[in-house]
């Protein structure tokens, strides 16, 4: 028995013995997800038990080093853990932006003391993080951000505004890009900094989207003082001053990869095919075809594209495993996934007709089809617009010239 096989057997046993039955519904939604953080309250005893057992094992952040609260698993081991978890349909015990976004940056760029403080708190679900990148004037052109960060000797002084800070209203800390040098070329005056949201001068305003209430906020910084350091060798800045773009770029690639690998149409109808769903709702004509020829054509095209997309994710993954990295082709996946995601709910809105377009007296219900349909317009904008993906593909995949 190889070491990995042995590990798999151990993991299986551990999961079987430790994951409560209620946590084996697999279906994490923003509502039942375990986010952690100062304001966090467990939604059930089972959720709490599952979190605590996983934490004790280092399984809230399995690949992180043991000294920072992880289990120090190798990539192969982590894959096995994931497979076995999915095999029993178990939820992740903890998931949030600290794990997916800040963690990798700190692992790559942080000092030991920064990791000891922040990674450990993330692993333990003590601190919930939000991301402060975009600004009203810096969207696609993120590097043109203007939030000002001045050196005041023992502290930094921050003024400016961030937008699209998801869950800023319920987060404890924020990792932020700020401008520390207004003279330098735009990519070279940016600093990556960690700020306690409880600091004086920070205010947060939720953003209402076309789909209704959203996790997004605007976050305002008004003479916010940030200590230069949170302790010995534990500066508030990650990486070098004025080199924050390098840290952020890393994360953006990470984010794009995440967006690109969701399965676009599946979210629309569950396990069933969109076409079968349409057949049930609309019925077939005398030749056995869906009784709406134009819609039928659109559905078939979406299913065809979705199939080709899924295969492309599989192929690129296999290529990456064989040593040919995905690189800028991740932009292709991001582009197609966001188009298919929009397309899927559009089609379902058309299949369900006026039923789906009817909302309650209180407005668009959270989680309803109409809510998803409207929210999904954002997929081709957030995480780099489709236009930005096209620019990346033409420059970095096709090597087309610049003007």
């Amino acid at each position: 028995m190889s070491d990995l096989d042995k590990f798999r057997a151990e993991v299986r046993t551990w999961l079987d013995e430790n994951c409560p039955e209620e946590m084996r519904d697999g279906d994490i939604t923003p509502e039942n997800q375990c986010w952690g953080g100062r304001q966090w309250e467990f939604q059930s005893e089972a959720q709490k038990i599952w979190f605590e057992r996983a934490l004790a094992q280092g399984y809230t952040v399995p690949t992180w080093p043991k000294e920072y609260g992880g289990a120090g698993l190798s990539a192969e081991e982590a894959k096995i853990l994931d497979e076995e978890r999915q095999a029993i349909n178990a939820r992740k015990p903890l998931s949030n932006f600290g794990i997916s976004m800040l963690g990798p940056a700190l692992l790559a760029y942080g000092t030991h003391e920064q990791k000891a403080q922040h990674l450990t708190a993330i692993a333990r679900g003590e601190i919930r993080w939000c991301q402060g990148y975009s600004e009203p004037g810096a969207g696609s052109d993120l590097a043109s951000l203007k939030a000002k960060c001045e050196d005041k000797g023992d502290h930094w002084l921050i003024n400016g505004q961030k937008i699209w800070t998801s869950n800023a209203d319920i987060s404890d800390w924020i990792f932020c890009l700020v401008r520390t040098d207004f003279e330098a070329p735009k990519h070279q005056g940016i600093t990556f900094i960690l700020i306690d949201m409880a600091s004086e001068g920070i205010s947060v305003k939720p953003i209402v989207l076309i789909s209704g209430h959203s996790p997004f906020c605007e976050t305002f910084f008004d003479d916010v003082k940030v200590p230069k350091s949170y302790g010995d060798n534990n500066p508030s800045v990650v990486g070098e001053i004025n080199r924050g773009w390098d840290v952020a770029k890393n994360l953006l690639v990470h984010e794009r990869g995440m967006l690109g690998t969701m399965s676009p149409l599946r979210g629309t109808t569950g396990p069933e095919s969109l076409g079968k769903f349409a057949a049930e709702k609309i019925g077939l004509d005398a030749t056995g075809r869906l009784d709406d020829p134009a819609l039928r054509q659109r559905i078939a095209q979406a299913e065809l594209d979705n199939w080709a997309y899924d295969l492309t994710v599989a192929r690129m993954t296999d290529e990456a495993n064989a040593g040919n990295g995905l690189g800028a082709k991740s932009s292709m996946l991001k582009y197609v996934a966001s188009e298919l995601t929009k397309c899927g709910t559009e089609l379902r809105m058309d299949i369900e007709g006026t039923t789906a377009a009817t909302i309650g007296e209180d407005g668009i219900e959270y989680g309803s089809l109409a809510n998803n349909w409207l929210y999904n317009r954002a997929y081709s904008i957030l995480g780099g617009t489709t236009e930005v993906q096209f620019n990346i593909i033409s420059k970095r995949v096709l090597d087309l010239p610049s003007q």
């Binding site: 699209w164 076309i210 709406d292 134009a294 058309d350 006026t354 109409a370 409207l374 904008i381």
Partner: protein
């Protein structure tokens, strides 16, 4: 007849622009949406519209209307589409007025047209019985009983059905569900106790109702048009509705495109106006072209209704198909080109996206009408 507005129609357009800018801009629609008055629109505004002659825009002057015909109605609808103006104009002054004026008896005209023109009586058309438009599938029952009929059945997505004073109901007096023969239109009092109306607010913040009728007794006098031959009348009313809805969607598409090109000229990223990027320019140029094509289609359908009402069905069908496609493209591109702020409720573009979706579904979307066109053309 040239495919342009005449002087009178242009003056109407100017007046509409001025009135709506003052009384019913998009901000007024937001107020209605957020305050949720029971009617779903502003009664005071509707009264003023009626005073302007809009409620009776297609009604003959002999019946208190302003006699502008369908081009006139389209001119108003286009401006309302630009401003997202919520009012009973469509259900009462287009659908109701068309039904009575084109298919009513003299008595029905006398009783209703002046009240429509005065903005006093509100109408609604009850056609669909499921979530998708299927006017040739009517199951709603009208059983003969004594001298009259007893109506029973349900209708869905009856626009403004929650506030209508009178309902026009397409019911089956003979034949089977899929037959176009055997359909009869009835004009009934919406407040009859046998009628239950459930308000269904729509995603575009306009309003409709699901209607259930149980054992409502009506007489032959309540028939609008021909017994068993109501499908032709229904088609006529729907054609008028399709053309005017197309005009409204055309206005929405033009407005949202104007807002978007303005934004392209202002917004800077990467040190340049984003409107200087050729990727966006070429998409804007294509959309501008589609909008010109759409405008021609809409104007033609309205003119055809005025010139030869009974044979305007196919151009109204084509107009609704083209407009549905272009308006949807325009609102999608508007959101995408605005980027992040395009998906915020604070910006107007999302409101147009929602309205166009519902207007597309009403009386058949582009797919419905392209299928209809092909079938009518023998393929």
């Amino acid at each position: 007849m040239p495919l342009i507005l005449n002087e009178e129609q242009e003056m109407l357009q100017d007046a509409a622009k001025g009135f709506l800018a003052e009384k019913a801009p998009v901000s007024a629609f937001r107020t209605v949406r957020d305050n949720k008055p029971a009617d779903g629109f502003c009664r005071q505004l509707w009264t003023e519209m009626a005073q302007m002659g809009w409620a009776g825009i297609i009604v003959d002057e002999t019946h208190g209307g302003s006699g502008f015909g369908y081009v006139g109605a389209g001119v108003l609808a286009e401006e309302m589409g630009r401003n997202l103006t919520a009012s009973p104009f469509f259900s009462t002054s287009v659908l109701g007025a068309t039904a009575i004026q084109k298919y009513g008896t003299e008595k029905q005209k006398d009783e209703n047209l002046a009240a429509i023109s005065g903005g006093e009586t509100l109408f609604a058309l009850a056609v669909d019985e499921g979530p998708r438009h299927k006017p040739d599938h009517i199951a709603f029952s009208a059983e003969p009983a004594g001298n009259g009929f007893i109506l029973s059945g349900t209708k869905t997505f009856v626009a403004d059905g929650h506030v209508a004073d009178k309902l026009i109901i397409a019911a089956r007096t003979s034949g089977d569900e899929g037959d176009t023969a055997g359909i009869t239109l009835f004009l009934v009092d919406a407040n009859a106790p046998e009628i239950t109306r459930v308000h269904t607010p729509m995603v575009d913040s306009r309003n409709a109702a699901d209607i259930a009728v149980e054992g409502l007794e009506v007489t032959g006098d309540d028939i609008l048009g021909e017994l068993d031959g109501g499908y032709a009348a229904l088609e006529g009313i729907l054609s008028a509705g399709r053309a005017v809805l197309s005009a409204e969607m055309s206005g929405s598409a033009q407005q949202v495109f104007d807002v978007t090109t303005d934004y392209l000229k202002e917004r800077e990223q990467f040190g340049q106006k984003i409107g200087s990027f050729q990727g966006l320019q070429h998409r804007a140029a294509q959309l501008a072209t589609e909008i010109e094509m759409m405008k021609s289609a809409v104007l033609k359908s309205l003119k055809d209704l005025d010139q030869d009402f009974d044979n305007a069905g196919m151009t109204c069908c084509l107009a609704k198909a083209k407009t549905g496609q272009v308006a949807q493209l325009a609102t999608k591109e508007a959101i995408q080109m605005h980027g992040g702020i395009g998906v915020t409720d604070e910006y107007d573009v999302g409101l147009y996206f929602k309205r166009v979706h519902v207007a597309q579904q009403m009386f058949g979307d582009a797919g419905f009408h392209s299928d209809r066109w092909a079938r009518n053309s023998g393929y």
